[in-house]
């Protein structure tokens, strides 16, 4: 709207360079004005959304517990060669700082952090806390070793030293079922802690199943909606859009009512004599995939529909008139043109499926919980925020990579709602 002010009495020798600068300045003002419209939302999203997520990513490698409570022990360990049990200086600093953590009630916190890498460390820390509470003074090295010979373990002290570093790869490695031993070499984690790769593959597998199911169910429906006259298509479109706008919780509740063992579907199966006893349809993989497919189906249908709508029906007729059979015409002329829609719909459903939490939590069994569930679990129950953040960081990375792919292939500005 800002128009470059032209020189009022411009003679024939109008200064071209000055006009150019003025135009450029006007453009710059215009750009700044456009940007000032975008800036409030951008700042809001960066401050309330991007910044907390960034801090969560830092939390995935952050390592504050030991560094903040036992700085002198860590400093003493700096001079340790790592060959044999550390000397009295380390033990004295350790005992001193244990007295403080006992006062602050943080002994268990430090013990829990070490316990991640040295099973059993937490209870040993609590016992050591009681030992220093008893008082009596040093030398502490002998006292600790007498209380529990494990205090002499070189591995333990190596891990303790590492736990004092500013950052740790521990949580990220654990999320990938890897572990760093006392010497720093990365290898497989203990079998009883190696659960996360399975969970990631399960998440991807369930998302793939859901994507495939929505494609198989949705493609014909999208085709039907695209070829029907608008009057009929609009009515059927309501059947797609009504579930779309209905709350996910409502739909999940509906599936629980339908699928539970004394639920409606089992009643029907029994009444039709299809089964003789009630079938377990819920709290398993079947129920999870079914309910998720129901929720995601409109997301797959709508992009496919909008692409199909733009394919002229004359293409199919032309193929037929040139001698192609109905199947050949459909497969070799129609289907390739629908691929952009198929790609957009499937990718969208796959991305959204990866982040599912509520539906599997309500209709799935313990073996159907996806990564999101464990992010919530480690935040709320286990209070292991490093692990929650690391799992979240990996899930976020996968999601954002697919989002970038989606942006590249489809363009986020092409997404339409309703």
């Amino acid at each position: 709207m800002a128009v470059a002010a032209l020189p009022g009495e411009a003679g024939p020798d109008v200064d071209r360079t000055s006009l150019k600068t003025k135009l450029r300045r006007a453009e710059r003002v215009n750009r700044a004005r456009s940007f000032s419209l975008v800036a409030p939302l951008l700042l809001f999203v960066l401050a309330v959304f991007a910044l907390p997520i960034g801090l969560m990513l830092v939390r995935a490698v952050e390592n504050t517990e030991v560094r903040e409570t036992m700085p002198r022990t860590i400093a003493a360990l700096d001079g340790w060669d790592g060959q044999a049990t550390p000397g009295e200086d380390v033990f004295a600093a350790f005992a001193d700082e244990l007295v403080q953590t006992q006062k602050d009630r943080t002994t268990a916190l430090v013990g829990k952090r070490i316990n991640y890498e040295v099973p059993g460390a937490r209870s040993r820390f609590l016992k050591a806390g009681r030992l220093v509470d008893a008082g009596g003074g040093g030398p502490w090295r002998e006292k600790f070793l007498a209380a529990d010979p494990e205090w002499g373990s070189v591995e333990f002290w190596a891990i303790m030293k590492r736990a004092g570093a500013t950052f740790t790869p521990y949580y990220l490695l654990t999320s990938l079922d890897l572990r760093q031993d006392a010497q720093g070499a990365v290898g497989r984690n203990f079998a009883d802690q190696s659960i996360f790769v399975d969970i990631f593959f399960r998440t991807i597998w369930i998302s793939l199943l859901v994507t495939l199911a929505t494609l198989v169910l949705g493609y014909p429906v999208a085709h039907l909606l695209a070829i029907l006259p608008p009057r009929h298509a609009n009515v059927l479109m309501i059947l797609v859009l009504l579930p779309f706008t209905t709350s996910i919780l409502v739909r999940t509740t509906a599936w629980i009512v339908l699928l539970q063992s004394n639920g409606v579907l089992n009643d029907i199966l029994l009444a039709l004599n299809l089964t003789t006893e009630r079938v377990q349809l819920i709290f398993n993989r079947f129920g999870t995939v079914l309910a998720m497919t129901h929720i995601q189906l409109p997301f797959t249908i709508l992009p496919i529909y909008s692409v199909m709508k733009s394919i002229p029906p004359s293409h199919l007729r032309a193929a037929r008139s040139l001698g192609a059979g109905p199947l050949t015409a459909f497969v070799s002329v129609y289907m390739p043109q629908t691929l952009p829609g198929v790609g957009a719909g499937c990718l969208l459903t796959f991305i959204l499926s990866l982040g599912y939490y509520i539906t599997p939590a309500l209709v799935g069994g313990p073996q159907d919980q996806m990564v999101s569930y464990f992010v919530a679990l480690y935040t709320n129950r286990e209070m292991n925020w490093g692990q929650a953040s690391a799992l979240g960081a990996i899930l976020l990375l996968i999601t954002l990579a697919l989002y970038a792919l989606f942006n590249r292939l489809v363009g986020i500005d092409k997404v339409k709602l309703g």
Binding site: V221, L239, A254, S389, Y403
Partner: protein, 275 residues
């Protein structure tokens, strides 16, 4: 109706199978919602057909029980303010981006849309940590800000879609006739993009109204919203009061959809692109 007139009998049969398949998929889509609604009118607290008798007791329960009443009220408050923030900021941003001269517009748009893509648990946990540091956990403000973030992508998308068909010469004409930018916006741009703004606002409202994960992390029992109340109910034991709440929400959704459709038609009429 589906098969072309030149179809052979075998083709007609395949069209029939195709139509039957589609009918089953439509049943799959709408069936669960239709099944749950009558159960909310049952006189007994179990979920079986045929219904043992009709009653409105679960609706009475829903509207008289203190917990549901507070949840309804909280949902209303949070959704209203979240919608106002999301619609205001989202509309401004869409207007700015549509002027076509914002540097890094593609990147900015991706960032603005990303709250729709990032798994909601990550949003919830990140805000739980981040808000704790500034004392926003367990406050209405925290929940409103979080829900506003989740709603903005919808506003940006719908308003941008309306603006792609917007004829810029109209505002230029207004300006050349002496209208200030604000007058031109108020009298020309705003009425034309109003359908897009309203449908974006409706999407933002529903996003907050239905949101449960963020509410689980950020809200204390004082800010308990309707979905959160439903969630804890489903976890323990599905009471028919939940099906009554669900039925009311379905009607709400249907009403919303109707409004969106009317808005879409109005927008097409205003832009002269449709019948």
């Amino acid at each position: 109706m589906l098969a072309p007139s030149y179809a052979t009998p075998r083709e007609k049969l395949s069209y029939f199978v195709f139509a039957l398949f589609c009918a089953l998929v439509f049943l799959f889509l709408i069936g669960p919602i239709l099944v749950i609604m009558p159960l909310s009118f049952s006189s007994e607290p179990w979920f079986t057909y045929p219904l043992p008798g009709l009653s409105l007791r679960w609706y009475i329960d829903f509207f008289t029980d203190e917990r549901w009443r507070i949840a309804l009220q909280n949902s209303g408050i949070v959704a209203l303010f979240a919608t106002l923030i999301a619609t205001g900021l989202g509309t401004l941003a869409a207007l700015g981006l549509s002027r076509g001269n914002v540097p890094f517009a593609g990147l900015i748009l991706s960032i603005l849309i990303s709250p729709m893509i990032v798994p909601v648990v990550i949003v919830a946990v990140a805000m739980f940590f981040g808000f704790a540091a500034v004392g926003l956990n367990n406050t209405y403000l925290g929940l409103i800000l979080a829900h506003a973030i989740l709603g903005t992508p919808f506003v940006v998308i719908t308003v941008t879609a309306t603006l792609t068909g917007f004829d810029r010469t109209l505002t230029r004409a207004a300006a050349s006739l002496g209208a200030s930018p604000w007058t031109a916006f108020r009298t020309i741009t705003l009425p034309l993009i109003a359908p897009g703004v309203t449908s974006g606002a409706l999407f933002a409202f529903v996003t907050s109204w239905d949101e449960v994960v963020v509410a689980l992390f950020l809200a204390s029992p004082d800010q308990r919203t309707l979905p959160r109340q439903m969630f804890s109910g489903i976890r323990e034991q599905i009471s028919p009061t939940i099906t009554a709440a669900a039925t009311l929400l379905v009607f709400f959704a249907a009403l919303l959809m109707l409004t969106l459709e009317l808005l879409r038609r109005r927008s097409e009429r205003l832009r002269g692109t449709g019948g």
